[in-house]
């Protein structure tokens, strides 16, 4: 009798523990967003990917339509090559363009895909060449400073 009452409590303990693990995996983790939908793989070249990481989302109109699978460097073109897995159920025109966007000011970087106007769609293995690099804050600041300095040196000359 004593034994069987213990068993109930042990069972309850295990159930609570497993429920906690499921909570961590489903509610706190990203198990829900792991998709097992069929995908097709395309690639793209960027001059500068900034802080893009593999696993980053590819969004169109704010909706996730794919994920970055791998990033490596192409030493023939001296560009970054980004492999992307697009979900099979979304088709995009062949001349779609990609740009690297940032969620919020300090947020994660993700890819935005802008549909083009072509009649033909992207197929597996296609390469997107119309890309816009990440905005690098340091470059922007240095451009701003140089233009300021140029203004300042121009001003006395104009006087």
């Amino acid at each position: 009798m004593q034994k069987s009452r213990n068993d109930v409590w042990v069972g309850l303990f295990v159930v609570i523990g497993v429920a906690a693990l499921l909570f961590l995996a489903l509610r706190a983790g990203n198990l829900m967003s792991l998709s097992f939908d069929p995908t097709y793989r395309i690639s793209a070249r960027f001059d500068n990917i900034g802080g893009l990481k593999s696993g980053a989302a590819v969004k169109s109109a704010g909706v996730v339509v794919g994920r970055v699978k791998a990033i490596d460097f192409d030493d023939k073109m001296f560009q970054a090559r980004v492999d992307i897995e697009m979900q099979q159920r979304y088709a995009f025109p062949k001349d779609s363009s990609l740009k690297i966007l940032t969620a919020g000011l300090l947020g994660e970087q993700y890819l935005g895909i802008e549909p083009g106007a072509s009649e033909q769609n992207l197929v597996a293995g296609a390469t997107i060449t119309q890309t816009q690099s990440a905005i690098v804050l340091e470059t922007l600041i240095s451009q701003f400073l140089y233009s300021k300095a140029a203004d300042a040196s121009d001003a006395p000359a104009a006087k």
Binding site: K3, N6, D7, W9, V10, L12, F13, V14, I16, G17, V18, A19, A20, L21, F23, L24, A25, R27, A28, G29, N30, L31, M32, S33, L34, G104, L106, E108
Partner: protein, 262 residues
């Protein structure tokens, strides 16, 4: 005339005793690991130990987890809002709990709550000569007494750590969303965006299993090797807490460096 020679002899003796101690502990660990399948076959004994180690620790783990979550919510928000990113509170709370605080704090509490009980129980069995009596009856005390407790600790500890993390996240949610007013959608979506199931949650579970092994083994070893006197049992119980806590913290550093460094 025996001054330096005597000193040298004492040094040698203490090194030899230390080495013998380490060897003894390693042999006990290997035996316990080898006995895991045998213990699982007699699951009734293990279930009793899970009840003793797990169920009875659930209250302290749950309450501590809740308060750790509260504090993480308050303190994390205070730091994050300076950079205008209070929305990332959910991510901060979840990552710190799942990766570090859940396994480590749960293991420290487990050492204090369950490890001491194990050491005292086995130490008293030894001082009451129950272990010797078992051996007389050709019952192996390591197999009958130590192994079920070892397996029970191995099973209970990851579950307790998971409960700690889950309750802690709820605590962070209570403080962050209900009290401070962080947006609930941002709280959960930032968390889901940043916590990886295998890299973060999975590694946390691996950590908690290893901590369960460490704490349970230290407790059993201390009880098994203690001097069979009231004072010896008292000392062994103290040593269990000190050694298990230090081992958990040291091991955590090594595991974090191995798992999460880039």
């Amino acid at each position: 005339m025996s001054g330096p020679v005597d000193l040298l002899a004492r040094l040698g003796a203490s090194v030899r005793a230390g080495l013998a101690d380490i060897g003894d502990a390693a042999r006990l660990l290997l035996r316990l690991l080898a006995l895991v399948p045998a213990a699982l076959a007699r699951f009734r004994l293990v279930a009793d130990q899970i009840h003793f180690l797990g169920n009875h620790s659930l209250a302290i783990i749950g309450v501590s987890g809740l308060f750790v979550g509260f504090v993480l919510g308050l303190q994390g928000y205070y730091t994050l809002q300076r950079y205008g990113s209070g929305d990332a509170l959910g991510l901060l709370v979840a990552l710190s709990l799942v990766r570090e605080l859940g396994p480590v704090v749960a293991a420290l509490l487990f050492a204090g709550r369950a490890g001491t009980a194990l050491t005292a129980e086995i130490g008293l069995m030894k001082s009451g000569e129950q272990l010797a009596a078992m051996e007389m009856m050709a019952v192996d005390p390591v197999r009958r007494v130590l192994a079920p407790r070892f397996v029970g600790g191995l099973i209970a500890m990851p579950l307790l750590a998971a409960v700690f993390s889950a309750v802690g996240i709820i605590g962070g949610w209570v403080v962050g969303v209900l009290l401070i007013g962080v947006d609930a959608g941002a709280f959960w979506s930032q968390m889901q965006g940043g916590v990886d199931v295998f890299k973060d949650v999975g590694n946390g579970v691996v950590k908690s299993i290893l901590f369960g092994l460490t704490v349970t083994f230290v407790a059993l070893r201390q009880g098994h090797a203690c001097r069979p006197t009231p004072e010896g049992v008292a000392r062994a119980t103290t040593r269990t807490v000190v050694m298990a806590s230090l081992a958990v913290l040291g091991l955590d550093f090594v595991l974090t460096a191995l798992m999460f460094s880039i």
